[in-house]
């Protein structure tokens, strides 16, 4: 009993001590001495986690008031759990931000019942890199370009209908008339690549260029794989001769369908704040994010950790999301049909 009394009196003291006038507070006053939680929608050790931890250790000094940034993992439902939580339950004062799957903002459009948020309402803070995703085939499959890909069947590995390897293959089939058959159910991208090496499948999509460079450079060097399609708005400097999917499309409708796959690549690994965070704090977070991306100490740490840094601003991400949300419902229906 006495303990509860103590707690109660503590609570009263604390309530009095906290200034009630939040209105007139500047961003710096607000963040001074505070802790900002940076939530990661995945468990420890993956790409999203690595990026977030390196960013977390440098972001604080660029936010006015220099709050402490604490990276916190909240895995579940391919980061949809975190997106739902940020939308519904997280504190909306700018002390909670998160990094979610690049495709998560578009899940509600694709009628994913586990995504219960309106992605257009999030405040996008920025991303540290743009992804360049590829479809590729084993050299001995005899498929070297888009014409071969249209005329011959290619067995590609899949990791589930909602994942990049499946979506990209399905949309390419629907919009570009390619002839890829998905062998579905591999636990992850690495497993597909191993299956390619032993000839169980002959190709894959959703293979990001940064991953290839880091893990399978020998396959490229020795010409074991042909890179066939590039999912991006502008080609990666290394990949000038791999055709962009939009260039291969004939009609606007096809391009709009492909945009569903290309837009998430532009999102990279997005950082978002909940809806309703005061605008001055959102602006400060966006500015701090871009300042971090230019911070030599951060860049050195990123290089040490092998991370590619090609940032986009929060405003850019907000525009990408808006553009996808403006898609004609008839085309969205086609995308849903093609990817299920």
């Amino acid at each position: 009993m006495s303990v509860i009394k103590v707690l109660k009196s503590l609570a009263v003291v604390a309530a009095v001590a906290v200034p009630a006038s939040a209105q007139a507070q500047s961003v710096e006053e607000f963040y001074a001495g505070k802790t900002v939680s940076l939530y990661i929608g995945y468990s420890v050790g993956g790409g999203y986690d690595t990026y977030a931890r390196v960013i977390a250790s440098h972001l604080g000094k660029h936010i006015p008031g220099n709050p402490t940034i604490v990276p916190t993992n909240m895995p579940g439902a391919g980061s949809l759990r975190l997106a739902n939580w940020l939308y519904e339950a997280a504190p909306k004062d700018g002390t909670a931000i998160g990094t979610v799957a690049r495709a998560a903002p578009f899940e509600p459009l694709l009628e994913n019942e586990a995504a219960s948020f309106n992605a257009a309402e999030f405040n996008y803070i920025g991303n540290a890199n743009t992804e360049y995703s590829l479809c590729a085939a084993n050299a001995d499959a005899g498929i070297a370009n888009i014409d071969d890909l249209r005329s011959k069947e290619l067995l590609v590995g899949g990791t589930g209908a909602a994942s990049d390897p499946n979506k990209q293959a399905n949309i390419a089939n629907a919009a570009l008339g390619t002839n890829m058959t998905i062998i579905d159910g591999y636990p992850g991208g690495n497993d597909i690549t191993l299956a390619m090496e032993r000839g169980e499948v002959m190709g894959r999509c959703g293979w990001s260029w940064s991953t290839i460079k880091a893990t399978k450079w020998d396959m490229i060097e020795q010409g074991q794989v042909n890179l066939l399609l590039q999912f991006a708005n502008t080609p990666h400097p290394d990949l000038a001769d791999v055709p962009l999917v939009a260039e291969l499309a004939d009609t606007d409708e096809q391009r709009a369908m492909l945009n569903f796959i290309v837009a998430p690549q532009e999102m990279g690994r997005p950082y978002i704040a909940p809806p309703g965070v005061p605008q001055d704090r959102v602006d400060a977070l966006r500015q701090a994010f871009m300042d971090t991306m230019a911070d030599p100490e951060f860049l050195a740490a990123a290089t040490e950790a092998g991370l590619e840094i090609t940032p986009s601003s929060g405003e850019t991400l907000q525009e990408i999301v808006a553009s996808v949300f403006a898609t004609d419902p008839a085309i969205i229906a086609k995308v849903i049909e093609a990817t299920n």
């Binding site: 503590l10 439902a77 062998i183 191993l194 092998g306």
Partner: protein, 680 residues
């Protein structure tokens, strides 16, 4: 090859690198003791510190950490029946039984000696296999993985239980549970009941802790005595005895070490099944295991412990040769690889061979160091088992809670823990085998994935691959052997007809009926899924139902005691294997047992209610105080230090170090200012 092996040895034994290796070992030992934390979280958190090291030191550090987490996890497994990591589930069965007999010191020291020999043998096999790694790995395709998983389930399913049918039925139930969540292909949501928690499926941690840790703790609360009333051996004598046990079983250690290394190399089968494979193998192959396994046979400790340490070496194989991590900790090691600019693949076996061999040496040295430290402490550790239950129970229970919460860091973890705790206790009490359930759960997801891949890629021809044929035939033999054995026995004794008697129903049959109803409900629900999403649930569901129904019929028509009494079935019940702990309540009446179990699980509900009210960390403090005072009127001078110490420890590990996102509390909502306190 020998030359690079020697070069690599001198690379590792440089002073600075050895220091990092030792630091990794110390951290790994500490993390392995805490259920739910394990080596994976530790590696992930320490990864950034390795960026500045040279590659060999970085890998020495990380491998040191991951190789010995499977060494120290034996401590809670043996002493409290709480698996410290998923790799020590099987150790609980005989290890904890030994602790109960007052042989904790012997069990621990046998475990460490087998760990070090198994670990070294695994490293040796890895060193030998390196030149032929890639061709072997390229041979193992999806059909082979599928066949190995089926073989594993069949081996454990029929081992356990007074009836193999129960094992098969319950393994089927485990597979069904593994299929909860979005299906691996279409993304159809199966049995999620509208929750986001079940979207990714049930996490393994709360299930493993619920099934194995809570029943032991519940029975401890029911017996109301210390885990071991006395220690059988002097500290030194127990240690020596354990070491002798291990050395005498060196051949078993090598075989299980080989199993561990081979299975560790298969991506997908992780450390959570390897210990069961080894345990199952030992129970099949060592002399007298039928009678002694499950009751505290030291060989039941030696087998899984030698296998799980060897598996680290095995898990390195796909990581090094193909960049496909064989386990969660290897996924993080792969991250470290890339950061240091090393590419997994053929180059690791040719130009970078010295680095690869340096990893083999690191694993070997880490095993010696880790097991040595634990061995030195094992005699003293054993004394903990003789403490009063009210001193250790609230502490262990709090840590089990925190451990389960590592699953998805969600309320759902605690509900799952409670649900599987009750299920585990009922199963244990009614002699239903728990290993097939957990194994079905772990392997079920693999089986579904690779079944679809195999059929989609090879149609039915996947069945014709040689390794598949061998493994599946072995699985069939495993499943049929007990039935054939019974028929042969009957032929020999000249009996005819089936030994049925009029149906007799017991209250305990209710559990079977509930299980049938549960699986039945899942099957009915599954008929509404999309085509691809329901194929596996329906086939497994119907098979599981069939096993359960036959088992139920068997149960009510062929009760051994009843049969003997009315002269059916020859009167002598066949000696059945039951590879699970059996509780001896020393004559406590059933009513009292059920009442005390109710009180125990009631405490858990109080814990959860308090957590919703005032947050997890304050709850730990009040829970320990309340439990110790109310259950046994422990003196305040014991209560306060234990409660404060545990709370502080949990605060540092889980709030400061692991930065867990705590769920919102009522108190925090009412008095937002209090949210500055941890977990409110």
């Amino acid at each position: 090859m020998v030359e690079s092996l020697i070069d690599a040895f001198f690379l590792v034994i440089q002073f600075e690198r050895l220091i990092y290796l030792a630091a990794g070992v110390m951290l790994g030992l500490m993390l392995g003791i805490l259920p739910g934390v394990g080596g994976v979280a530790g590696m992930a958190l320490l990864l950034p510190f390795t960026f500045g090291m040279d590659p060999i030191a970085a890998f020495a550090f990380m491998l040191g950490l991951s190789a010995v987490a499977a060494t120290s996890d034996t401590i809670p497994a043996v002493l409290f029946g709480v698996p410290g990591t998923q790799a020590s589930q099987a150790t609980v069965i005989d290890g904890h039984a030994m602790a109960r007999k007052g042989e904790a010191g012997r069990a621990l020291s046998a475990a460490y000696v087998s760990s070090v020999i198994g670990g070294l043998f695994g490293a040796f096999l890895l060193a030998l296999a390196i030149p032929v790694l890639r061709p072997i790995m390229l041979y193992i395709g999806s059909p082979e993985l599928l066949a190995a998983s089926i073989f594993g389930i069949s081996m454990v399913a029929v081992l356990a239980g007074s009836s193999p049918l129960r094992g098969l039925g319950i393994a089927g139930f485990g597979i069904m549970l593994s299929m909860i969540g979005s299906d691996p292909q279409g993304g159809d949501l199966r049995w999620t009941m509208g929750t986001v928690y079940l979207y990714d499926g049930l996490p393994l941690l709360p299930i493993a802790l619920g099934l194995f840790a809570l029943p032991e703790l519940a029975d401890l609360a029911i017996r109301r005595v210390a885990i071991a009333s006395k220690t059988k051996h002097e500290v030194r004598e127990g240690m020596l005895q354990g070491a002798r046990d291990a050395l005498r079983n060196w051949w078993l250690i090598l075989r299980c070490g080989g199993i561990g290394a081979a299975l560790g190399a298969m991506p997908g089968l992780g450390s959570s099944v390897i210990d069961w494979f080894a345990y199952g193998y030992a129970a099949r192959s060592v002399k007298g295991a039928r009678d002694s396994f499950g009751t505290g046979d030291v060989r039941g400790v030696i087998a899984p412990e030698s296998a799980n340490n060897a598996s680290t070496s095995g898990a390195l194989v796909p990581t090094i040769a193909f960049g496909v991590p064989g386990s969660a900790s290897m996924a993080i090691l792969l991250g470290a690889f890339l950061i240091h600019g090393l590419q997994p693949g053929p180059a690791m076996l040719t130009t970078n061979l010295a680095i690869t061999y340096s990893m083999v040496w690191s694993v070997a040295i880490a095993n010696i160091l880790g097991a040595g430290i634990c061995f030195a402490l094992s005699g003293q550790m054993a004394r903990i088992a003789t403490l009063r239950y009210t001193l250790i129970m609230p502490m262990i229970l709090s840590i089990v809670y925190l451990g389960a919460f590592q699953g998805n860091r969600d309320w759902g973890d605690l509900f799952a823990l409670l649900a599987f705790g009750v299920l585990g206790w009922v199963m244990k009490s009614l002699h239903w085998p728990r290993p097939p359930l957990i194994l079905g759960f772990v392997l079920g997801a693999i089986i579904e994935r690779y079944l679809f891949i195999s059929i989609a890629r090879y149609s039915w021809e996947w069945l014709l691959r040689p390794a598949v044929i061998v493994l599946l035939l072995l699985a069939v033999v495993m499943v049929l052997r007990p039935f054939i054995g019974e028929i042969i026995e009957r032929r020999r004794t000249g009996e005819k007809g089936l030994p049925f008697h009029a149906p007799v129903l017991h209250v305990t049959d209710l559990f079977t009926l509930l299980l049938i109803a549960g699986v039945g409900w899942m099957v009915v629900e599954a008929t509404g899924f999309a085509d691809k999403a329901r194929l596996a649930p329906l086939s497994v569901g119907f098979a599981s139902l069939a096993f359960l129904v036959v088992s139920f019929t068997n149960q009510i028509l062929r009760r051994p005691g009843r049969g003997a009494a009315i002269g059916v079935g020859g009167g002598k019940a066949r000696k059945e294997v039951h590879l699970d702990l059996v509780e001896d309540y020393r004559g406590l009446p059933v009513g009292k047992i059920v009442l005390r179990a109710g009180v125990f699980f009631g405490w858990m509900l109080v814990f959860m209610a308090s957590m919703a009210l005032i947050g997890l960390i304050p709850t730990v403090f009040f829970f320990i105080v309340a439990y110790m005072r109310l259950e046994n009127r422990e003196p305040w001078k014991l209560v306060l230090p234990i409660a404060l110490g545990t709370t502080l420890f949990i605060y540092v590990v889980f709030d400061v170090f692991l930065t867990i996102p705590w769920p919102a509390t009522l108190l925090g909502r009412l008095v937002p200012a209090l949210q500055v306190l941890p977990s409110i």
